[in-house]
Subunit: 306 residues, 2 copies
């Protein structure tokens, strides 16, 4: 049985005339006759009772025609579904974003994304890099925005922007009035870090002197907002990524944010499986992110290589 045979069957049922049915199918009458006969032979059933003046479905013919219509409808559905999917970034997509980025970047990203791709049903998953990558590999995410580099192999990375780190100082501290803070300034100060698993914790540790300087008694916040409150309470210093700093309110609520002397930054990128079939969409999204970043971060020109 072939789909064409079913098409011919339905055409004959509709036209009740082999010649007209054949025209409607854009084939010759003998072709249609032969195929229909073959179908009848394969099914072991007579589908139409025909004379040279009339063509009428038999009882079993009616049933088969009915089913055949449904088959063809569903085939057409498949075509429709796929045609709809040709449009990039439409339908369900899931994007992972690390917690130290999501709340600060998404307000910049989502409005233009929604404007450009209204049919996109984006699901944002906020989690630490390790778990985001695990989910990428098990196909439960389409892409993820994390700090680069990811040690993971068989992933493709699209660098998006470099995000400088700032130093958050307790409001009353003398450094709160410095123009910039150096690594030496922090040498003897308590540093507050995020909890284990956050990449930002590791980056901060690396910058501020490594694990050696990390006293076991340190506070371990699970969000930058908590960390910010701890700084405001005078418990110590911390590093904040640029996007986490309200643009015009660098000194607010007992926290003074000062530039870090030197070039402390993290690189944020979009990653996906190397085999992900819609790299075009990844690139589209990457470009959209780059185009709508605030001035506080440095976009990396065009995400099309490596």
């Amino acid at each position: 049985m072939t789909l064409n045979e079913l098409r011919y069957l339905v055409a004959v049922a509709d036209h009740r005339h082999f010649g007209k049915a054949a025209s409607a199918c854009f084939v010759s009458q003998p072709t249609l006759s032969t195929q229909l006969k073959k179908l009848e032979e394969q099914l072991g059933v007579i589908l139409f009772e025909r004379t040279n003046k009339s063509v009428r479905p038999t009882g079993i013919g009616e049933q088969v025609i009915d089913k055949a219509r449904r088959v063809l409808d569903q085939v057409e559905d498949i075509r429709t579904i796929c045609r709809g999917d040709r449009e990039p970034l439409c339908g369900a997509r899931s994007l992972g974003v690390i917690p130290t980025l999501a709340p600060y970047l998404l307000p910049w990203l989502l409005p233009p994304l929604r404007r450009a791709h209204p049919a996109l049903e984006l699901i944002v998953v906020e989690d630490i890099t390790e778990r985001l990558i695990a989910r990428l590999k098990e196909h439960s995410l389409d892409g993820a925005m994390v700090a680069l580099p990811t040690s993971a192999s068989d992933l493709i990375e699209r660098p998006l922007f470099d995000e400088p780190f700032y130093v958050a100082c307790p409001g009353g501290h003398r450094l709160a009035r410095a123009r910039a803070v150096t690594l030496a300034d922090l040498e003897s100060e308590p540093i507050l870090y995020l909890a284990d698993g956050h990449c930002l914790r590791d980056q901060a540790l690396a910058i501020c002197g490594g694990a050696a300087r990390d006293p076991t008694g340190d506070f371990r916040a699970t969000s930058l907002e908590t960390l910010r409150q701890l700084v405001a309470a005078g418990l110590g210093f911390t590093l904040l990524p640029a996007l986490a700093i309200p643009e015009d309110q660098r000194d607010l609520a007992g926290v003074a944010v000062r530039p870090f002397a030197g070039t402390a930054k993290r690189r944020i990128g979009l990653v996906c499986r190397a085999t992900y079939p819609h790299l075009d969409e990844i690139d589209l999204l990457a470009q959209l992110v780059i185009d709508h970043l605030p001035a506080s971060v440095r976009p990396l020109r065009s995400a099309l290589n490596q």
Copy 2:
């Protein structure tokens, strides 16, 4: 798009492995790969994300696979339906029977028919020959049992049996005690006929002297039972076909039934469209009728020729 392509698609979805899927479909791996790739190209969509170690459906792939399964299920349904229909005399069939035959023959026919073909859902339509034939031609009947010959062309006739006519005499009449009744006996007696349209009326008229002897004032009953009552009331004579006569009760309720001298009879046959696709079923039914007739009629041997 072809059904085989959809089969390959579903097989790959099930096995998540091209080689195994190919084996399951009894084709080579390259064949399956090629066909699936062609399907993807035609649909303009990637259905599986594959490495050499893993094969996983994409989002759109899941949707298409789902539809494809339904398509294949329905195709299988078609096969099942047709396989079921290969068994003769099962499912819905409609049979027309003339009113002067139905109530007397069906009690003989239906029980063995039900026994031999329990899955048959027979619809019996009782009407006069003319309308039965009209319904045959418009395909709203599969077959009909009528008196032969039918003038209708493009119908096939299967003779079933010859049914002798008897004379029903009013109980008190002198002929009620005759051994047999001759045409001459009836010469001066009133004859009762069925209403217009019944073939039995025409046959009785033909036997008893034609339209010339039919006074306009005659009673026109619409059933043999009414006619029998009229005879019992002494209003006249009539012809009754053999089956209409209770076997062991030829003289009952004021009606004496006597043989007709000579060979007055009607021939009953099964008719269907010449193009009817299940002549085998017609023959099956004909044989079944013949095999279960009461002794009062003469079956016509084997219904397989004209």
